[in-house]
């Protein structure tokens, strides 16, 4: 092997390892658990969207679930044929388009308002997005058309037909592998973006917005792109989630899920999409496993873990591991020489 391919292999090693484990996981898990894991995968995609917005873009968004929720509701409303005037066109495909486009559009308009001109700085952005999450949940609870407090039930599963009557992706295994494939695609896309020239610009805006501006970059535009892209991914995750959960309700769009995803990403590691992805899956998995034993102490432990991780491992628990592995694998060739 050439030195270059060795280096890139080492670079990709953690992701390949995780991918292999996830590919083989259903062999060990029962049907129900596979279904659960498929749901966690959608949370993982959701976490990766926040890792992009927060970890790369430096935008601490306290309302990422707003976009997840819009995606979930858009998918539900479309596939339940609730849209007037589209007849039987309410297919999965149209739902996916709506679930990606609507959150992106909303994020774009919001971003245009918040980033341009004098713009909002760090903490202000957090508090404004926090308020938006509260508003969104209030609206979802009180909007009769989308089911109000009860939400929308009997959302159909993914369907490959163009008009909603084709092959249904149904059953734990097919759903799991389809979700895993989407997660892998999202991951690969994000890695490509992060590794690209534009990815460097994004991080430059995060670390030193003013200086990057002096180099002639449109920093508000960069933030807008990142925010919009993150919202689109969160919407996609929400759409996938609701086709597995069959139920869209106000908690999906609100404050609680927004802060939950923040904790997954903080614990996993905001700097790496893989770390954020694993953070979501592991926290949800541990919650399901441990809740029957520790009950209400689970949240207590999660809060404490979050504090400790912020103090000692600002890169996140998994992020720190990946960071050390990368440092170690970079260091080896020189040491070997």
């Amino acid at each position: 092997m050439t030195a270059w391919s060795q280096a890139s292999l080492r670079h990709a090693a953690p992701a390949l390892a995780v991918g292999t484990v996830l590919l083989l996981a259903p062999l060990q898990l029962g049907g129900y658990q596979t279904g659960q894991l498929a749901q966690y995968l959608t949370y993982g995609i959701f976490a990766m969207s926040l890792a992009l917005v927060w970890g790369q873009g430096g935008l601490l968004c306290f309302g990422q679930a707003v976009f997840f929720g819009i995606g979930a509701y858009a998918m539900s409303v479309t596939t339940l044929d609730m849209l007037p005037g589209i007849g039987t066109l309410g297919s999965t495909w149209l739902g996916l388009v709506a679930a990606i486009a609507l959150p992106a559009l909303f994020a774009n308009l919001l971003g245009r308002f918040l980033f341009y001109g004098r713009g909002l700085q760090g903490a202000y952005f957090g508090i404004v997005t926090l308020s938006i999450a509260v508003i969104a949940e209030r609206i979802a609870v009180n909007w009769k058309w989308i089911g109000g407090l009860n939400g929308l039930m009997n959302v159909p599963p993914l369907n490959l037909g163009l008009t909603g009557d084709g092959y249904e992706i149904w059953g734990n295994l097919p759903v799991y592998y389809v979700t895993l494939a989407v997660a892998a695609l999202v991951y690969a896309g994000l890695q490509a973006l992060i590794g690209s020239r534009y990815g460097t610009v994004i991080r430059a805006v995060r670390d030193a917005e003013e200086r990057t501006g002096y180099f002639g970059y449109d920093t508000a535009g960069v933030k807008l792109t990142v925010f919009t892209l993150g919202a689109a991914l969160a919407g996609l995750a929400g759409a996938l989630f609701v086709t597995q959960f069959y139920f869209a309700s106000p908690p999906l769009i609100g404050f609680t899920l927004s802060t939950e995803v923040l904790i997954w990403v903080a614990l996993g590691g905001r700097g790496y999409p893989l770390a954020a992805f694993l953070g979501a899956i592991l926290v949800k998995y541990a919650e399901a496993k441990l809740f029957e034993f520790v009950g209400a102490y689970w949240l207590l432990a999660l809060g404490a873990l979050c504090v400790l991780s912020v103090i000692w491992f600002p890169r996140g628990l998994i992020g720190e591991a990946i960071y050390r592995f990368e440092g170690w694998s970079r260091a080896t060739p020189e040491q070997a020489q």
């Binding site: 430096g58 601490l60 308002f113 918040l114 001109g117 004098r118 713009g119 909002l120 700085q121 760090g122 903490a123 202000y124 957090g126 508090i127 404004v128 926090l130 308020s131 938006i132 509260v134 508003i135 209030r138 609206i139 609870v141 009180n142 404050f255 802060t259 923040l262 904790i263 903080a266 209400a296 102490y297 949240l299 207590l300 999660l302 809060g303 404490a304 873990l305 979050c306 504090v307 912020v310 103090i311 600002p314």
Partner: protein
């Protein structure tokens, strides 16, 4: 006219309640540059201190006295254990205090259960205001809030502590070079802010249902009040609270409390975007 007076009274009530919560928050934010997401839980701890004192057979007033002391002590401990490690990482303070908020809230659930509790109202008398009975205790809360405002302004503009504190806000490095112990000041500030939140929780407890979620309802309006008013000024918080609380009361009267919250929060976001330095900031610049 009478209805207008009642509306004004309700509005002042809500405004002063927001100020009571926001004062501690803005002091911690302004002086230490820490966004304290656990402030709602300090409020919660204040209310539960009263519950504890009452269940131990003590009187409400004893609880009201102990609440700021206890929560202030919690503030000192948390500052030492957590906050001081993340001062230099601004956005991380939000996360760390958010973790604290989950921890405290869940600890309260474990100790007291998730159900809502009640605290006896210490003053049950009512006074007649324009022909309608009005609880005296609400007037008492407004009085406490006014006293807190007066105390805070006195502390910051009339004492040596206040002078040092304003020096640190203006230029932390320079203040430190001049021999001010910023470390001690930070600890005292955080404790003072926490104590104010504890006092707010205790004094509000009789008119609210005391449950583990009660802190959040005030946290968001308080934050918005600070940002709308301008985080750099104590007076800004008063103006911000007046705008948020006043608009909310009027909108709730015109439509419903849900619509009021949506409208007021949205308005606040627009205001924060148009005047990033707050009403006070925009006003003082002229």
């Amino acid at each position: 006219m009478d209805q207008l007076l009642i509306l004004a009274l309700d509005a002042s009530n809500f405004i002063l309640a927001i100020i009571l919560v926001a004062m501690g928050l803005v002091i911690i934010f302004g002086l230490m540059n820490v966004i304290n997401m656990a402030h709602g839980e300090f409020f919660l701890l204040g209310a539960y201190t009263v519950v504890m004192v009452e269940s131990a057979g003590g009187h409400f007033w004893l609880g009201l006295l102990l609440a700021p002391l206890f929560v202030g002590l919690v503030g000192v401990v948390l500052e030492e254990l957590v906050i001081r490690h993340v001062y230099h990482r601004f956005l991380d303070t939000i996360l760390a205090t958010w973790g604290l908020s989950i921890f405290i809230k869940q600890a309260v659930v474990l100790i007291f259960g998730p159900a809502s509790l009640t605290v006896t109202t210490p003053i049950t008398a009512t006074v007649e205001i324009v022909g309608a009975p009005y609880p005296v205790y609400r007037l008492f809360i407004m009085g406490v809030s006014l006293a807190v405002i007066a105390l805070t302004f006195w502390l910051f503009f009339r004492t040596r502590f206040g002078l040092t504190a304003r020096g640190v806000i203006a230029n932390r490095n320079m203040a430190s070079c001049l021999g001010i112990n910023t470390r001690r000041l930070d600890r005292m500030t955080f404790a003072f802010g926490a104590a104010l939140a504890g006092l707010a929780g205790a004094v509000m407890a009789p008119i609210m249902s005391v449950d583990p979620q009660m802190g959040l309802g005030f946290l968001v309006p308080a934050f918005l009040a600070i940002l709308v008013g301008g985080a750099g000024h104590l007076a800004g918080t008063l103006m911000g609270a007046a705008v948020i609380g006043g608009a909310d009361t009027v909108a709730a009267n015109l439509w419903s409390s849900v619509v009021a919250q949506i409208v007021v929060f949205s308005m606040a976001i627009v205001a924060i975007r148009l005047f990033p330095r707050g009403i006070a900031g925009a006003w003082l610049k002229q």
